[in-house]
Amino acid sequence: MGTEDNGDMGFQHRGSSSGMNPISVSGKILGRAMSSGAIIKSTNGADPFFGSGWDSLSMSQSENFGGSSMVPLTDVANPPFPLLLTNQAIDSSSHLVHYPSDLGLVDMVPKLPSFGSGNFSEMVSSFGLPESGQITNSGCPINYLRNREGGTANTSTNNADCQENCQVSEEGSSPNGRRKRRASNSPSPMNTNKNAEREQHKESSKDSSECLKEQEEKKQKIEQNISANLRGKQTSKQAKDNSNSGEAPKENYIHVRAKRGQATNSHSLAERVRRERISERMRLLQELVPGCNKITGKAVMLDEIINYVQSLQQQVEFLSMKLATVNPELNDDIERILTKDILHSRGSNAAIFGFGPGLSSSYPFPQGIPQGTSLSIPFTTPPLNPMAQVASRCHYPAPSLSSFED
């Protein structure tokens, strides 16, 4: 089948590029288990590097069900891959791979305290596995990152290895990049060519869901948008009047990008589309960050977003410090009770501590400080400098938060 061939080719290329035979073997196995195109498209383009890395590791992990001590780091890689599988709604294989990876993942962390040394990084690295597969696999994401950002013909040669992996998004962009470089291209043949390419890839993954296709198209458009911006600045001399597509709707965005147009036109087109995207994302972020409904303006909005992310990260640190001091007693039974409590009785817990349910989602942190009688007990006993630092840092969001409670 074409899908299998593509998948095998893709995995073999990956294997050849990374020099790992197990990857190609596991890739073939997985290629038959699911459509390869779906794998490649599932993760926002150019993720098959991670996919391949997780492939070999997940295969090895599925063999060692219990997660031996030699496989802890690979377990970190495993859950991403089965989650990819579940994304594509492939039933049996995904569930099979999902559970051992979940079991295996955590094996990484429990090894940390067993060494008992002072340096944490030493603990982590003490079972760092210098497997060649791991090293080369971790080299692949670097290429992935480079490809994601590039999308230009400058990196097209680098993309040559990875193009089969980054099939949809990268191949969409780099041939377009090459075509951009040529002198004259009319919009329709270019679009038909690209559509033909795209349809080949799409046919290879016909069973993928619609949202995946949209995601991939969106990623294509993002990539092409990036390259369009770059091209618009670089190929100003290739002026062609395709500005009639300026008002093209988003479904014809590919037409917009293909028509290189005159320098100002293509540049302004790309800029306009880009600005629309950014404002749309900013609107979504505005809904997420509490208290930003009245803010109009990207700069202020960005400041609020940065503050909010910082405060959330500080809350995580604060809570982890609390956890470090509070609880040494976790039994197996308690864990089951805990999961139920944590996931379901948030409202009751919040009410106990005076949080309103509406407030629990938005900056509840400053209210935790005055009300935390339980906080004071564990905090007074260990006189910690880091505790003081955390506490002082925790007070940071308080003044800015008061403005949110208007």
């Binding site: 690295s125 670097i142 990152l145 994302r281 972020l285 992310v309 956890l323 976790l330 006189p383």
Partner: protein, 160 residues
């Protein structure tokens, strides 16, 4: 526009359950190996390990669907690989490549000067353009919220 909404609504309840499960298991094992810790230094070490476990569990719960979770998992991996014989070469290679990528990154200014700070906050944000960076930030904020909720519930459970 609808696709971006689909990106954002990636089922936080399941992420929450996965994160809770992973984090609790990690906590249990951490506690098993270090039951008695009264000294301040031990508590600080435990704090670091718990924070690391929280971030790792969160990144694993999200999987590799998001760039920031991929970057976190990659960082965890590289941390472990740091003390191998390839350590120095890889670190320098990574830094060189990051510098190249930063120079090539089309960072538009136009009222996004603070975007650089946001890049520092969101893991893996150094190599993204503004559009993807905002997308990743939205998902990261949602996951941070769930993380804070779960951790707070755990703490409340133990302190009550």
């Amino acid at each position: 526009m609808m696709t971006s909404r689909q990106h954002l609504t990636t089922n936080p309840s399941s992420i929450k359950t996965r994160f809770a499960y992973l984090f609790l298991r990690n906590l249990k094992r951490l506690n098993k190996y270090r039951p008695t810790s009264s000294s301040s230094r031990a508590v600080y070490q435990r704090y670091g390990m718990i924070k690391f476990a929280a971030d790792a569990s969160m990144a694993s719960a999200v999987g590799s669907r998001r760039a920031w979770s991929r970057a976190t998992l990659l960082k965890i991996r590289n941390r472990a690989l740091n003390c191998t014989f390839l350590k120095r070469r890889r670190i320098h290679a990574l830094r060189r490549r990051r510098a190249e990528r930063k120079s090539r990154n089309p960072r538009q200014e136009c009222a996004f000067g603070q975007a650089n700070e946001l890049r520092r906050l969101v893991p893996g944000g150094e190599v993204m353009d503004i559009c993807n960076l905002l997308d990743e930030t939205a998902h990261y904020i949602k996951c941070l919220n769930t993380q804070v909720q779960v951790m707070r519930n755990i703490v409340d459970f133990y302190s009550s």
